[in-house]
Amino acid sequence: MLSGKQLNDDLIKEIEKRLIQSDVGVAATKILIDGINADYKAGTLTKGEDVIEYLKTELKAMWPAQDRTLNLSDTKPTVILMTGVNGVGKTTSISKLCQQLTSEGNTVLLGACDTFRAGAVRQLEIWGERLGVEVVKGQQGGDPAAVAFDACSAAKSRDVDILIIDTAGRLQTQTGLMDQLSKIRRVIDKQIPGAPHETLLVLDATSGQNALRQAEEFNAAAGVTGIFLTKLDGTARGGIVVAIKEATDIPVKYIGVGETPDDVEPFDPERFVEAMFA
């Protein structure tokens, strides 16, 4: 929408509107627009394309490449904990990570720690069957921390490279469930010191400003090391990750672009900006 256009106050207003409509949020948009205005008034930004380049530079600085790689442990197993609110794509995203990691030569084990929702364990089991990996499960309705415990000991005794733990969706306002998440984390760390090595918060790109609340609260309860941003194959742009970076410094590591195990890509700030102004 910006190519071939001359930069002026009207175009800057359009850019502001596009950022807000991409869920960047009022406060984070103001920071970006103030920067654009300053450079425009100084004469260093004159064309629409200049703004794209400006935003790409800003966002690439926000998320340097080294922050966006998966934290792998030096000793087996690496443990990845998947968290997030209901329906965002945690279970499906596990199938994607599993596919990617096995194709890179890793042995993977899955832990079905959503013992609450109807069909949750079966859903992960089907992914395990399709991808050729084992799934550790427990009692339906049982303590998820107990399943996490079993998954960790199975990962150690089977000498797997990577253990990915699926958890039930929970709202950050449900204190009991957030405490449960902290407990799952403690149990994992006790079994495998230093684990989980990667705690991914799965965020739905269609969510609005509440995703910022999610990032803050899940970070406080479980120490989030990265974001997996799903459903970017739709029309939502997931701009909230800009506000999240400002508030918590948490990097986006992966994006989900569909419903099959192949539909995952590493997060690329430049393509993220291009999609926003397509």
Binding site: V26, G87, Q172, T206, S207, T260
Partner: protein, 316 residues
């Protein structure tokens, strides 16, 4: 929910005995920001503020005895209207229920984006109808999500066994028809038609079709829903929307509505601390009434939507 920003604006206004044109404009700017921060769509917020401004001018709010209170009441009235209520009614009309037909079944088609809460809400509607003494059949028309058929069957059994009410909740599903992504497009249509036959045979009052989540920009899957609609003729088409949806709520709601003529919206996960601006956006852009809100994961966590209550909640 949307109330924090509003509280500041209204605290300033309600205290003032005199406001000028520029006070009104400044207040509206703050209202607009409060709406955006609450996830109301950019253009819906602009339109809403424009309408408030013209109401305020029309009512000569600056000359009123208590202009601050006047402004608050204008916003309150506009919100109730936007949500489909009548600001002048002494008592709001009873919200419409699920159609009653003889012979049945009344057919409800559930649709919406991935993960919005359709399958769970099918169980909640079943529980609600069961309490009203109406028999229900849940049809598993999501043939692509792993274990979707099993999930709905479990939900149907839970509604039948654990929720109060004298009538039955039945389940219709064809486990063998589930297939990997993309391999089962169109199969859902046949399953829905078979479910209608089964519902008629068992004399079920209401048949609810649980469909797979899909993107409004996926023409093939939107086409599948159009086929279900034209071959099965549902009496209600409910769009299930996650209450924490941001600016995209307008895009998906508009597209689903244009293609299917949605006659009701259900907002889920309203038990979260989301401000809920998607409610305004979806209502403004589709005109379809918000029928119910989901307020939890358990099957009894559903409430009838009340426009005046929502308006009051937003204003804090």
């Amino acid at each position: 929910r949307v109330s924090d920003g509003f509280n500041n604006v209204f605290r300033k206004l309600s205290g003032s005995d005199a406001i000028s044109e520029s006070n009104v404009r400044e207040a509206m700017d703050e209202v607009r920001t409060a709406l955006l921060e609450a996830d109301v769509h950019y253009e819906v917020a602009e339109e809403f503020c424009k309408n408030i401004m013209s109401d305020a001018a029309g009512q000569q709010v600056t000359k009123a005895v208590k202009p601050g209170q006047e402004m608050i009441s204008i916003v309150h009235r506009r919100l109730i209207e936007l949500f489909g209520g009548d600001p002048d009614a002494e008592q709001q009309p009873t919200p419409a229920g699920i159609m009653k037909l003889a012979p049945g079944p009344t057919i409800i088609m559930m649709c919406g984006l991935q993960g919005s809460g359709k399958t769970t809400t099918c169980g909640k509607l079943a529980g609600m109808l069961k309490k009203q003494g109406r028999s229900v059949m849940l049809c598993a028309a999501d043939l692509q999500r792993p274990a979707a058929v099993e999930q709905l069957e479990t939900v149907a059994n839970q509604a039948n066994d654990d929720l109060p009410g004298g009538s039955q909740v039945h389940f219709y599903g064809e486990h063998d028809k589930s297939a990997e992504y993309g391999k089962a497009v169109g199969v859902a249509v046949k399953v829905c038609q078979n479910a209608v036959k089964a519902a008629k045979k068992q004399g079920v009052d209401v048949l609810i079709l649980d469909t797979a989540g899909r993107l409004h920009v996926n023409d093939e899957l939107m086409g599948e829903l159009k086929s279900v609609r034209s071959l099965v003729n549902p009496h209600h088409i409910f769009l299930v929307v996650d209450a924490m949806t941001g600016q995209d709520a307008v895009n998906s709601a508009k597209s689903f509505h244009e293609k299917l003529e949605v006659d009701g919206v259900i907002l889920t996960k309203f038990d979260s601390d989301t401000r809920g601006g998607a409610a305004l956006s979806v209502k403004a852009v589709t005109g379809a009434p918000i029928r119910y809100i989901g307020v939890g994961e358990h099957l009894d966590a559903i409430e009838v939507f009340h426009p005046e209550r929502m308006a009051g909640r937003i204003l804090g």
